[in-house]
Amino acid sequence: MNPHLSFNLPSDVHQLLAYQFMVNALQAASAVAVMAAVVGWFMVLRRESFAGHTLSMMSFPGAAAAALAGVPLAAGYFAFCGAGAVIIAGAAQGAGAARGAQRSAVIGVVGAGSLALGYLLLSLYGGVLESLESLLFGSILGVSGGEVEMLELVAVAVLAFLAIAGRPLFFASVDGPLASASRVPVRALSVAFLLVLGLAVAATAQLTGVLLVFALLVAPAGIARELTPRIGLSLALSVLIGLLIAWLGLGLSYFTNYSPGFFATTAAIVLFALARGARSLPRDRLRRTALSPQASR
């Protein structure tokens, strides 16, 4: 039976769940989408999207190195993304105002280096690496049961870290000077967050591919933060939007045979554009429709 979109929701969902590979993909994508939405929310808040994107590029040499060494690709993803996080965190140890500029330069160098290293390792390997295309743009349809468990484990670990460190991390991110004066370990949190980001990116890139991490990591948080400045609400929205993007990508891909990464990214871009458009509406109109200040007391 070839799947075809009937626009009858129960029947479409039934078709979606007919094959084990699709159930695996949906499970993995859901776990990763929730994790990426929350980590990405902090990443966008900290203005570290460039670091996140560069970390995802580290998974390209990671996969190539793993293939060369004959170990599972996931091991390469995690090792190289982790190493990238350590390098970027180390570059941030400079002082004062020059730090931001120096840091983005280092991130750029890491990104360029990772691509070069990836191609070198790939040509050393010589064989066919799953397919370069799925590495770059995602291979969500080939997730095994073991990989689902591993991704879920990573998601739980990342979310646990944020549940413990979330509030001081938020404090350090929006108000660094006062946070350090209040004895919040700002520097340690910054390094720890980069490592966690590396872990999350390595997991996300395994599904969306190296180049389409944006769809699950940046877009949900960016959209949610356009829609509301409330912390809890925007985190919840970010998770819902992440799930929506992941499911849309998978579902449309299943019925059309085009890449899930393409659909997920298109959905993300459309939602982002809509959210930005909504925010640029005249403020009076928004204020009348939004909750009144009194409602939050």
Binding site: R47, G96, L162, A163, I164, A165, G166, R167, P168, F170, F171, V174, D175, P177, L178, A179, A181, S182, R183, V184, R225, E226, P229, R230, I231, G232, S234, P293, S296, R297
Partner: protein, 274 residues
């Protein structure tokens, strides 16, 4: 009256350079003290000493009856030069809340409806927001608030833990004159009504003159303390700077300091001390 701050024979060295020495300061609980002086005189360094973030090379310091840094929960601190740009999509009320429990680990998972602690925290936050008159915009992203509105919210943040002392590092920086006066009046009201000791670092004494009790003037590596009339005089400042300084009195009661090695400026670029 209890003593809030006591420094004796204090000196600070940073990077091998003595910033100031032989500084003796006594501040009573409930006093409003302005800290003045040229750039690089060590005003922020003095605040860091009081917060225990910087150690004295010589001398002693006691804050609220203990060594510096031991009573920081009882001090509301407003660091220098925090401007939130329009990309900062965080509400003022959430920023004020960070002053209350931002350093606590874990996240509040239960909505306030089900948690007495969350409810008490929210009430306290709105209480200080009302105290500074920021109810109208506390629910907006702070990046969309004006400089004066941001400063009121930051003062609310410093007040939220009911401190015995407020340490405000250049809260008037970048504000227009009416806002400078309004913020200073607000701080004085808090000082008088709640008996809070206030240390306020500023570049220009004039907007402060109607409100403050005493000034601490740092210059030339030394300090002078007293009423504005006693400290901001030609003799006192000439001796501090070690150079001829003239203090002029304008007809409307303003003080103009002429001949200081580095003229005070309000909006120019400035190197923040660490």
């Amino acid at each position: 009256m209890t003593v809030s701050i006591e420094m004796a024979g204090a000196a600070v060295r940073l990077g091998g350079r003595t910033i100031w020495s032989d500084v003796d300061v006594v501040v009573q609980q409930g006093e409003f003290v302005a800290i003045l002086g040229p750039n690089g005189a060590g005003k922020s360094t003095l605040l860091n000493v009081l917060l225990g973030l910087e150690q004295l090379a010589r001398g002693s310091v006691a804050v609220l009856g203990a060594g510096a840094g031991h009573n920081n929960e009882r001090i509301g601190y407003l660091p220098q030069r925090r401007v939130f740009d329009s990309a900062t999509r965080v509400r003022g009320v959430d920023l004020v809340r960070l002053g209350l429990d931002g350093r606590r680990w874990g996240v509040p998972l239960l909505p306030a409806r089900f948690s007495a602690r969350s409810r008490a925290a929210r009430e306290r936050v709105w209480q200080v927001i009302e105290r500074v008159g920021a109810e109208a915009y506390a629910d907006r992203p702070i990046g969309e608030c004006s400089g004066g509105e941001q400063q009121r919210l930051l003062i609310a943040q410093a007040l939220v833990r009911n401190p015995q002392m407020l340490i405000l590092d250049e809260p008037l920086d970048g504000l227009d004159l009416p806002n400078q006066a309004a913020v200073t009046a607000l701080v004085q009201g808090i000082c008088r009504d709640e008996g809070v000791t206030v240390l306020l670092v500023a570049h220009d004494v004039n907007p402060l003159l109607p409100y403050i009790d005493r000034v601490l003037y740092l210059a030339g590596g030394r300090a002078a303390m007293g009423t504005p009339q006693a400290v901001i005089t030609s003799e006192m400042l000439s001796s501090l700077y070690g150079a001829p300084i003239e203090v002029l009195h304008t007809s409307d009661g303003r003080l103009v300091v002429v001949g200081a090695p580095e003229a005070p400026h309000h909006h120019g670029p400035r190197h923040a001390l660490p």
